[in-house]
């Protein structure tokens, strides 16, 4: 076991699979000698050579399009999109190509590839270095969407994603890159791509969250327990697609009071899917309406980003409102 930050765990995960499997190649903008703008790929070119970890021209469309080609022809590409905000030139390649290749070829061609990309706010990145676009992608049939919140899960989910036979969008909460640390097993291990993680046990209110919102929710849950004696069941979804639907419903039934938290905008956000599942499958267990705590339905601001991002204050407000309903 090593005590690593989330970004060190990503680097460790990449190294682990690159050592074990020669077909794994890592590429993107500035991932080579510079080691990526966040240093997720630091040292990989030096240690594995520039045929295993290399820089590309500045074209997200080119990065993802060539990854699809490599994937269909025996490589395991791990492509980095420098910021999730920059992924949209590649939207066509992801949504129309990578995600649909298996289906449209009747399984003759597949795209087992991973797109790693930092997402979310908290670094004063303004409109174009802060967005959370998971809903666009979770909506796309044929694409898996994974978001870790701990170093342990970052490594285990990343290895599972690279080994997965289908394309995976691996969204890394950049706000947690260096702010969380945890025990990470050495060597290869995987975390299942459709199992949620129970972060905190409690019988009063269920809170669903993922990525950078997990520590925010943990703080709010601790405050709710301390200030009001409200015990929250906190669930880290980890894989948005495929979703651990049974686990989600089970957690809702345990308390009958639900809060969903994400930093992406609310309208058609991932919280809407969770709310709908609960409404469809366990409304009879509900003691209060579902509350969503989300980013606002606006672009992401810069100076005022701390007002935009859900914080423990807003989560606590929602916990109390469903509890007191």
């Amino acid at each position: 076991m090593a005590n690593l930050t989330l970004i060190q765990a990503v680097n460790d995960g990449l190294r682990t699979v690159m050592k074990a499997d020669d077909s794994v190649v890592v590429f993107g903008e500035d991932v080579g000698p510079k080691g990526g703008v966040f240093l997720a790929t630091e040292g990989l070119t030096a240690d594995f050579g520039d045929s295993r970890c290399f820089d590309t021209p500045l074209s997200e469309d080119g990065i993802i399009g060539t990854a699809v080609g490599m994937a269909m022809n025996g490589l395991r590409p791990v492509a980095e999109i420098q910021f999730q905000d920059f992924i949209f030139p590649a939207f066509d390649q992801i949504v129309s190509e990578a995600a649909k290749l298996r289906y449209r070829s009747g399984g003759q061609y597949t795209a087992p590839m991973v797109i790693r990309t930092p997402y979310g706010g908290g670094i004063r990145g303004g409109l174009y270095h802060s967005q959370s676009g998971e809903a666009y992608f979770a909506h796309t049939a044929g694409l898996k969407v994974v978001i870790p919140s701990t170093p342990h899960d970052a490594k285990g989910l990343l290895i599972a994603s690279i080994q997965d036979p289908d394309p995976v969008l691996f969204m890394e909460p950049k706000a947690l890159y260096r702010s969380v640390k945890g025990e990470v097993p050495e060597g290869e291990y995987t975390v299942d791509l459709s199992t949620l993680r129970t972060v905190r046990q409690g019988g009063d209110v269920t809170i669903y969250c993922y990525g950078a919102m997990v520590p925010v929710v943990e703080r709010a849950a601790a405050q709710a327990a301390e200030q009001r004696g409200i015990e929250c069941l906190v669930v880290d979804l980890r894989t948005l697609m495929p979703l651990d639907e049974e686990g989600v419903l089970e957690a809702a039934k345990q308390t009958g009071r639900v809060v969903v938290v994400h930093e992406a905008p609310r309208f058609c956000g991932y919280g809407a899917e969770i709310s709908a599942l609960i409404a469809e499958h366990c409304i009879e267990y509900m003691e209060a309406p579902v509350r969503r705590v989300t980013g606002f339905d606006t672009p992401f601001p810069n100076t005022l980003e701390h007002h935009y991002l859900p914080d423990d204050r807003r989560v606590l407000d929602a916990i109390e409102s469903v509890y007191d309903f």
Binding site: D30, K34, F88, G122, H129, D297, P299, N302, D311, R313
Partner: protein, 371 residues
């Protein structure tokens, strides 16, 4: 590489027969603008290191490209800038304090504190188009705006500036192709500064420079010494005249060098060989222009010193004024999403005001920008 136009030698001598088509006052304005850019960089670096602003983009080495290009434009022309084009705004009289408001993201910022620093947007005294972080997206915008000008029978020229990395973007292809087909009055200015963040040009393209790419689109092109203000000015003037005559777009490659990092968060020593920086220091665009002015008898070392002190003081005043300006109000999160605030966004705004009353304001935190 293709023949490169150079007018001004590193020692300040000009090519035989060259006559600057700028008045003495205009020449000094060019020089002072380049010093303003240097002062802006210097002060922003200090502010960033002190944690008073989050981020800045250094321009060291690129000043002559910016100012030379800007000097070839009229106030009625439009500039579609990259994030490394400060000098074009300053040349045309956009006050440094307006730019500093953006660096601090305060209530006076034209973008209302929504954008990162250096993402300027101005409409006066020249159109300096709102900057987007995604690369190359503004090239088709310039072409569309130029097409609109052309349809209205105006003689407006639209200059769009981008880096070497930008030539790999989808926007480059679409923009170049549309402009050539439509004969749009656009000047494409590729600032080849050697690196796209850490990616050197030979990893960006296999072609012989960037200008030659124009041939495939059926567009004329020129390659100029980007550290030579006169060469850049001449190429942009010629391209702008062609555009005004209705003869369509031109691609200009200005060969220059980013002598600093990509941004204040970047460490270029990890990927730029030190000897390369040394080599380019010898071609410093500001020194070169200063020597020209000295030869011409327009500037003495004493006047130069005074001008440097003066530009530094101007930027310092601008920074202090911007820092003293309040942050934008909470309502700016919710306005300008649409022309009118829709009901669901209004409710979210009301919720935030109410929450701030009930539970206090959000913590500002200390998010640090890595790029």
């Amino acid at each position: 590489m293709t023949d490169m136009l150079t007018v001004l030698a590193p020692d300040g001598a000009t090519k035989k027969g060259f006559e600057a088509d700028l008045s003495d006052a205009e020449l000094l304005h060019c020089y002072r603008t380049m010093l303003l850019v240097r002062s802006f960089d210097e002060i922003c670096l200090k502010l960033q290191r002190a944690g008073r602003i989050g981020f800045s983009i250094p321009n060291l080495g690129i000043e002559a490209t910016q100012v030379g290009a800007a000097s070839a434009l009229r106030k009625s022309d439009w500039i579609f800038p990259s994030y490394r084009d400060f000098g074009m705004a300053l040349y045309h009289g956009i006050p440094a304090v307006e730019m500093m408001h953006n660096m601090f993201g305060n209530a006076e910022d034209s973008a209302k504190g929504r954008q990162m620093p250096v993402h300027f947007s101005f409409v006066e005294p020249i159109h300096f188009y709102s900057i987007s972080s995604p690369i190359g997206t503004h090239l088709p915008h310039a072409v569309g705006a130029a097409h609109a000008s052309k349809l209205r029978g105006e003689d407006t020229v639209h200059l769009v500036s981008f880096g070497d990395g930008g030539t790999s973007s989808l926007g480059f292809h679409s923009g170049m192709n549309f402009a050539a087909v439509w004969k749009s009055p656009v000047v494409f200015l590729c600032q080849n500064n050697g690196y796209a963040i850490s990616c050197p040009s030979d990893h960006q393209t296999a072609s012989d420079g960037y200008a030659v790419k124009a041939e495939a689109y059926g567009m004329p092109h020129a390659t100029v010494d980007g550290n030579d203000l006169f060469a850049v000015r001449q190429a942009v003037l010629e391209a702008a005249e062609r555009a005004r005559r209705g003869e369509g777009p031109t691609l200009i490659e200005a060969v220059t060098f980013r002598m600093g990092g990509h941004s204040t968060s970047d460490d270029p020593t990890k990927y730029v060989p030190a000897e390369l920086v040394e080599e380019w220091k010898q071609k410093d665009p500001v020194d070169r222009f200063r020597r020209f002015l000295e030869r011409k008898g327009l500037l003495t070392p004493e006047q130069d010193e005074a001008m440097r002190a003066d530009t530094l003081a101007e930027i310092d005043r601008a920074a202090k004024a911007a820092e003293a300006t309040a942050a934008p109000g909470l309502e700016t999160i919710f306005s300008d999403v649409f022309a009118e605030v829709p009901n669901h966004i209004r409710k979210q705004g009301e919720f935030l005001f109410d929450l701030s009353q009930r539970r206090g304001e959000a913590d500002a935190g200390d998010g640090e920008f890595p790029l």
